[in-house]
């Protein structure tokens, strides 16, 4: 096993008095596609934000890319790990091409202007996300899917060997969601970039992730290789639903089918939506 991408030991994080992450140990391998899954409010986004230095841990050790998180400067960390937040914002009058160039910040010097490597990275990111035709369009005029791709392009232009994404398929229809995840897989397989992605859709996670961390109420319910973690028993326990893993003819991977709530789920007061 290569050096870990991230290692959390007894890490906790809270918002005000609410504990979002409760003394968790996490090990993320380098160079894989890693999915963070779990119910709403289970701490998966918080874990990602803690690992990216966006949220200070209240306790515990956090080490990413071989160094404690507090030792990284913003710029050095950006050169190592790009991150797409859940709801990024920029002025609507910014053009797609300018937005993508903003991703090059960590590569630019105080004195230099836009260098050749900047424009090359921008053009490559635009090409990969198929946004070349829209490059001069103000982002305020893009559709939800186009906008999400523009943000992904910005993240790619950062040219970091590792990319974190917080629910990147959020505003996308199913076709665009698959496109984004195919893109992530391509980046992982052909450019050997490590990907950590918060995903809501368990089927997506099963299909695309090599490694899954399953969160439940601020703790880790399971982590490891996808096939070992995503079992009917674990999912039923974490999400409080009944489900079956079904093989579909012609598909190598099984598909998760949630079933209606059992009486038992009502009795224990668990709710699939929470």
């Amino acid at each position: 096993m290569p050096d870990p991408l991230a290692q959390l030991r007894g890490a906790s994080a809270c918002y005000d008095a609410n504990v979002a992450l409760n003394a968790v140990d996490i090990d993320l391998p380098e160079g894989r596609i890693i999915a963070l899954c779990g119910p709403n409010g289970s701490g998966k986004s918080t874990a990602l934000r803690v690992m990216r230095g966006l949220h200070a841990p209240a306790a515990g050790q956090v080490e990413v890319a071989g160094r404690p998180i507090s030792d990284w400067t913003a710029r050095d960390l950006a050169l190592q790990i790009a991150m797409l937040s859940q709801s990024p914002e920029a002025p609507g009058e910014l053009s797609v091409s300018d937005l993508v160039l903003l991703g090059r910040f960590a590569h630019r010097g105080r004195f230099g202007g836009v260098s050749k490597s900047d424009t090359q990275a921008r053009d490559r990111a635009l090409a990969v996300t198929e946004l070349e035709a829209l490059r001069d369009r103000p982002i305020g005029q893009l559709s939800g899917g186009q906008l999400q791709r523009a943000w992904i392009a910005m993240t790619l232009a950062q040219d970091a060997p590792r990319i974190f994404l917080d629910e990147p398929t959020n505003h996308l229809d199913i076709a665009h969601a698959f496109e984004v995840l195919d893109l992530l897989r391509w980046l992982n397989r052909s450019e050997a970039r490590g990907i950590v992605v918060v995903l809501h859709d368990l089927n997506m996670a099963m299909r695309y992730a090599d490694h899954v961390v399953l969160f439940d109420k601020g703790r880790i319910a399971a982590q490891g290789a996808t096939r070992e973690v995503m079992t009917e028993i674990t999912i039923e326990r974490v999400f409080g639903i009944r489900c079956r893993l079904v093989s579909i003819p012609g598909q190598t991977l099984p598909t998760l089918v949630p079933l209606p709530k059992s009486e038992r789920a009502f009795d224990t007061g668990q709710d699939a939506a929470e």
Partner: protein
């Protein structure tokens, strides 16, 4: 849960304050505070009266000087302070909610400036006088200025984009303010006679302005409660609101219109009173946390606004007695410490 997450997303790194008390408890203690403040307002002043005198005056009958002062001076100014405070607070809440901008306040739509301009013109050029005439002039000026602002904002973009409306408002307000100032600088006698009105205040206005203020406040509050569900949805981004069936532009325009009406009513009653419309909504939000409900914020803001106005009015007659301190300055003296204390207590609250 998902909704709450969407609601807080505009601020980015948002903490999620928990609601410590239910709404009725807040309403109750605020209402009690208001009642106590109002009672205090009847007792305190240049002369302090005992409860028996005040009660006697309220019952009517005796013709003592004390009764006369209480019935014709203190009762009206207390009522006007309450109505104006509630109207301004509600107006500010509507504007901050609709524009999603924490700096929005009634003055930004050009309402105060329009009223002041109309009054100044009426007094300097046409020699008008009398409080009722001035109140009416103020109302007309306020409505005209708001209409101008909306006209400009609408001609800029069909969706009445919040930033454009605010920019148009602040520009029109600055322009009218500057015209007013120039007129007053040139005509110094007008400056002296108008200064008391231009400072804003609740004293010496009689009971008359309430005939404008109370209907406006009632209408404004009812309208706000009617609009509240749509406004809750507007606190998401426009697209999300649209997707759950809210007519974004119409709701926004209706709410801004209500806000303008309320502020116009307030300015007709008490002249341009600053700061209250800005700070009361922030206090309301910070007291009850981001309950995703505009309706409860509206009720809280009304009570808070009325209480603050009455308290400020009491202080205004006491600190520079026998003179009267300008109400805006006093409001700031009272409101700022409260705002700072609340700011320190709670994390950011989504608008």
């Amino acid at each position: 849960m998902q909704d709450a997450k969407l609601l807080t997303k505009t601020i980015g790194n948002v903490n999620r304050p928990t609601m410590t008390h239910p709404l009725p408890a807040h309403l109750l203690w605020l209402f009690l505070t208001l009642a106590i403040s109002a009672a205090a307002s009847l007792h305190l002043g240049l002369t302090v009266y005992d409860p028996a005198t005040v009660l006697g005056a309220l019952r009517g009958g005796d013709e003592t000087e004390a009764s006369l002062i209480i019935a014709t001076l203190r009762v009206p100014r207390t009522l006007i302070a309450m109505t104006t405070g509630a109207a301004l607070a509600l107006s500010g809440l509507l504007m901050q909610t609709v524009t999603r901008n924490p700096l929005a306040e009634p003055g930004l739509l050009g309402i105060n400036a329009g009223a002041a301009f109309a009054v100044t013109i009426g007094v300097t050029l046409f020699g008008m006088s009398g409080l009722f005439a001035i109140g009416l002039l103020a109302l007309c000026g306020a409505v005209a200025a708001t209409a101008l602002v909306f006209g400009i904002a609408l001609s800029v973009g069909p969706a009445a984009a919040p930033a454009n409306t605010l920019l148009a408002g602040v520009t029109v307000a600055a322009m009218l303010g500057s015209l007013t100032q120039v007129m007053l600088l040139i005509d110094e006698t007008a400056m002296e006679s108008l200064l008391f009105w231009l400072m804003g205040g609740f004293a010496d206005r009689g009971i008359g302005p309430l005939w404008i203020g109370v209907p406006v406040l009632t209408l404004g509050l009812a309208g706000t409660l009617l609009l509240a569900p749509a406004l809750d949805a507007l606190r998401l981004d426009d697209d999300s609101a649209r997707s759950i069936g809210v007519h974004v532009a119409a709701t926004r325009l209706a709410a801004l219109g209500l806000g303008a009406l309320l502020a116009a009513g307030a300015v007709a009653m008490a002249g341009p009173v600053v700061f209250l419309g800005l700070v009361a909504p922030h206090l309301a939000r910070r007291i009850c946390g981001p309950t995703p409900s505009v309706a409860s914020h509206a009720l809280l803001a009304c009570l808070l606004g009325a209480t603050l106005a009455v308290l400020a009015d009491i202080v205004a007659r006491l600190i520079v007695a026998p003179g009267e301190a300008p109400i805006g300055a006093v409001l700031a003296l009272i409101g700022v410490p409260v705002l700072v204390a609340l700011l320190r207590k709670r994390a950011e609250v989504a608008l």
